[in-house]
């Protein structure tokens, strides 16, 4: 079936981005997500490798990182990476295992505080960690003063999206209830 049209289905393809003055929700392209294990001592060289590969590096506990990017590469990034790294590093592909969602706007901390116990006003730009958002565990990174990226497991993505819509609801104007 060489002619078969192979379709990639994004898990949040049916979700409509939420736009309101104080908060916006956006499903991000299902590009590259790599889970990296290795000696924390060599985090530096990993950062370089990431830069070379054009991916952004996000910490995830001791000796664990994620490398993420919007593009899907046909190149075999994992092997490229590992070859460029001191040994002890393992790269596991999670391009499809994890899904990224952007939450932004000046109410972003108030919205996320409805889900996570992490003190968001102490959450530095560039910092990343995994936490519970309500009942769903997700990797969270702060990319700017009023922008966070959430990265749940693919199978939870739709539920988390729905929860985020609820958490943001008070910033979306709607008519009063009968």
């Amino acid at each position: 079936m060489s002619d078969f049209e192979l379709i990639h289905r994004a898990v949040l393809s049916s979700a409509t981005p939420l736009r309101s003055e104080r908060v916006q929700l956006t499903p991000l392209p299902e590009g590259t997500v790599l889970q990296v294990f290795g000696p924390a001592a060599h985090a530096g060289s990993l950062a370089d490798a990431a830069a070379r590969a054009g991916l952004s590096l996000r910490a995830n506990g001791p000796g664990q990182w994620y490398l993420v990017g919007d593009e899907t590469t046909t190149r075999d990034v994992p092997t490229e990476l590992t070859s460029g790294l001191p040994d002890g590093f393992t790269v596991v592909e999670q391009n499809h295992g994890r899904v990224r969602i952007a939450v932004e706007g000046d109410a972003v901390e108030a919205v996320l505080a409805k889900g996570t116990g992490v003190d968001l006003s102490r959450f530095e730009i560039g910092h990343a960690t995994t936490t519970l958002i309500g009942h769903i565990s997700a990797h969270v990174s702060r990319t700017s003063a009023d922008r966070f990226e959430l990265m749940p497991l693919r199978s939870f993505a739709e539920s988390l999206w729905h929860d985020l819509e609820k958490m943001a609801a008070e910033y979306v104007v709607v008519p009063s209830r009968p």
């Binding site: 506990g61 001791p62 664990q64 116990g117 992490v118 960690t129 995994t130 936490t131 519970l132 565990s137």
Partner: protein, 90 residues
């Protein structure tokens, strides 16, 4: 204290991010006598007071931690990664 646990890797987190296993005992050697094994699997000091307990940061960094807690007051005296050697506590 058990409402918030300070993960050495992730910082202060609510209890619900963790899974608790029980007494932080170390596994006997394969050739240890039966009695040692039985004791390890089935018997507990279950102290009232200071207690070392395995907590897993399952919704966080996925590391297993040893939480030193007081079972009467719930005060946490220390929290370390299971792979680290116990720090001497005051």
């Amino acid at each position: 204290m058990a409402s918030l646990v300070s993960c050495p890797h992730c910082g202060v987190r609510p209890k619900e991010e963790f899974t608790i296993k029980g007494a932080a005992l170390s596994r006997p050697a394969a050739d240890a006598p039966y009695a040692t094994w039985f004791d390890y699997v089935f018997l507990r000091d279950n102290p009232r007071g200071r207690y070392d307990e395995y907590w897993h940061h399952s919704s966080g960094c996925r590391r297993w931690l040893v939480v030193t807690r007081d079972t009467a007051s719930h005060e946490i005296a220390a929290c370390r990664d299971v792979a680290e050697k116990p720090a001497v506590l005051a």
